[in-house]
Point group: C2
Chain length 337, copies 2
């Protein structure tokens, strides 16, 4: 195994977030599934935007947010995802590159517009996402650049990639290249409804060792094993024999391996504003730590710290210096191994 150029390569949907505050009754009257990510078509997207209040526009996308978090923590990241050559795609590419994430996936010259997610943040800080996938539907194996995959310590794949038709082929290709280069492959389960859509395929990924590391929150884990009992879901997860980390919001996280369970507390916050990106930034801290040889408890603490930053403001991209924050908490990453 040669030295790696990137600590993390994220593969995911390239999405720009359109964010507005909304009251609970807005969700009810528009039949939005609170806390979930729901796929919508162009017509619904237009209708929802027309009904939405004044919005803030910020780049998003689950694995892209994670890649940004990794860079903000002082490590190196790349991203593969599909935009179109349009104004929203230009915004997505700008924000990623401006952060320092390597991003070279060719933008589609035609076809559907760059993806956007209409995100409603309720007074309790919960986010409800409604995503028009647009150009993401054209991500395929040709977009997986072999040298980039080989150069990354960890290839990180969002479960949401099972939605666009050709992306899972891209996922499989990336996993094969990574393993041939003795790299690790991580999967986020993304969303409980997403798990419902692709349960058997996600389990197959774990059991076929296409994936070495899995990240999930409590509801995604319960959805995976179709149980309401968290403890039994954790035991089922342990039997998969992969490295797993389960986030539990303010209850902290559990790192689950075949031989042990480590419980790590959440990082304290002053004010919960918007949970968008909490899981993505937890993944950023956890995986950046892992790539840099931090022990598992330290990885989970770094994940908790990054998640704590992101939920205290609107949007899923960090605003405060994560690197300084990590150092102040004794979690600063060492230089490139």
């Amino acid at each position: 195994m040669t030295a790696h150029t990137f600590d993390l390569l994220g593969l995911g949907n390239a999405i720009v977030d359109v964010i507005a505050r909304a009251e609970e009754d807005f969700l009810a009257s528009h039949k939005l599934r609170k806390g979930a990510m729901t796929l919508i078509d162009q017509t619904t997207a237009d209708q929802l935007y027309a009904a939405m209040g004044p919005a803030t526009i910020m780049s998003g996308g689950s694995a892209a947010n994670t890649a940004v978090g990794v860079v903000e923590l002082g490590a190196r990241a790349a991203f593969i995802g599909k935009i179109r050559q349009d104004e929203i795609g230009h915004i997505f590419a700008h924000d990623l590159r401006a952060t320092g994430v390597h991003f070279a996936t060719p933008a589609a010259a035609e076809g559907p517009a760059t993806a956007r997610s209409f995100i409603f943040v309720t007074p309790d800080g919960e986010r409800t996402m409604n995503t028009y996938l647009g150009a993401c539907q054209n991500l395929g194996p040709d977009d997986v650049d072999e040298p980039i995959v080989r150069a990354a310590a960890i290839v990180y794949l969002e479960g949401y990639l099972w939605d666009p038709p050709a992306a899972k082929d891209a996922f499989v290709k990336a996993s094969r290249i990574a393993h041939a280069a003795h790299r690790r492959v991580a999967l986020s389960l993304s969303d409980a409804f997403c798990v419902d859509r692709y349960r058997s395929e996600f389990l197959h990924l774990l059991r076929s060792r296409m994936v070495d590391i899995v990240l999930a929150n409590e509801s995604e884990l319960k959805a995976l094993y179709q149980t309401a009992d968290f403890a039994s879901a954790v035991e089922a997860l342990r039997q998969e024999g992969v490295l797993a980390v389960v986030t539990r919001a303010h209850h902290g996280s559990l790192v689950v391996t075949h031989s042990q369970t480590l419980a790590v507390p959440a990082h304290p916050i002053d004010n919960l504003v918007d949970t968008t990106g909490a899981g993505d930034l937890f993944a950023a801290g956890f995986l950046a730590g892992l790539a840099r040889g931090v022990d598992l408890t330290g990885c989970a603490r770094l994940g908790a710290l990054a998640a704590a930053e992101i939920i205290q403001h609107i949007g899923a991209r960090p605003q405060t210096g994560l690197r300084d924050l990590a150092q102040q908490n004794g979690l600063g990453l060492t230089s490139m191994p």
Copy 2:
């Protein structure tokens, strides 16, 4: 004079803000004029965006921000300004209409793109704006819809309108219609460099009574009378015989009439984050109060309250319920006269 449908009609540049934090040395290395609004061409806009960090995108535009503030305070507003039929223009129109501002100016089907302002917020909270006017250059008298002007208690014009070539004709047309309908016309001096560009024309507007109310900050007022002495600038302003209000950041504001000067303190804030929109929102509070028959001190207090809200977060559109905030401070507007 018939009853009015709108408390305020804003006429201004239709701009979407692209906002990023930046350090002082970024301003220096890109030769940006701190605290000012500088006009840039398409090439400079592209270069500046490429150099800019990850950005938050929110609708802006001085008079448009004011119109939004008026609505958020519980009064009614309309806006006239030029966008193009493109994604950024769609965002601008959406955010305005979603707030409840009446906006019906036809979007240009061709020509330059919708305007954007690249705004750098330094750690001291000051904003430095660099504006590509784009489609705003096509605003002209035909866009001034007579019934809308006649229906507004106050027509509010931003000084920035002197930049796009045909907009001043639109301004003059709006002023004539308003005065024929016995309405009042207000002008914001917008920016000290803008005053430098159009000093004699702005003075002519006051002296010809094309304008009845003028709003300025301290540096704009000094630029208008080409003096470093604030007191003498205030006296010169008083001699114009119009209703004037001069904002002085944390020193509060002065309402200046022919016979008196009222000093009104600033509204207390916890944390200065971003001064973008401070003047626009002061204008919103002051003019909404004026349209609803509030006394001059109350108008300036309402302006200070709205400005205090806007400078405590990123972006020039209100986030907190201004109406509730006004009521909590005993400044709630009464219902439509």
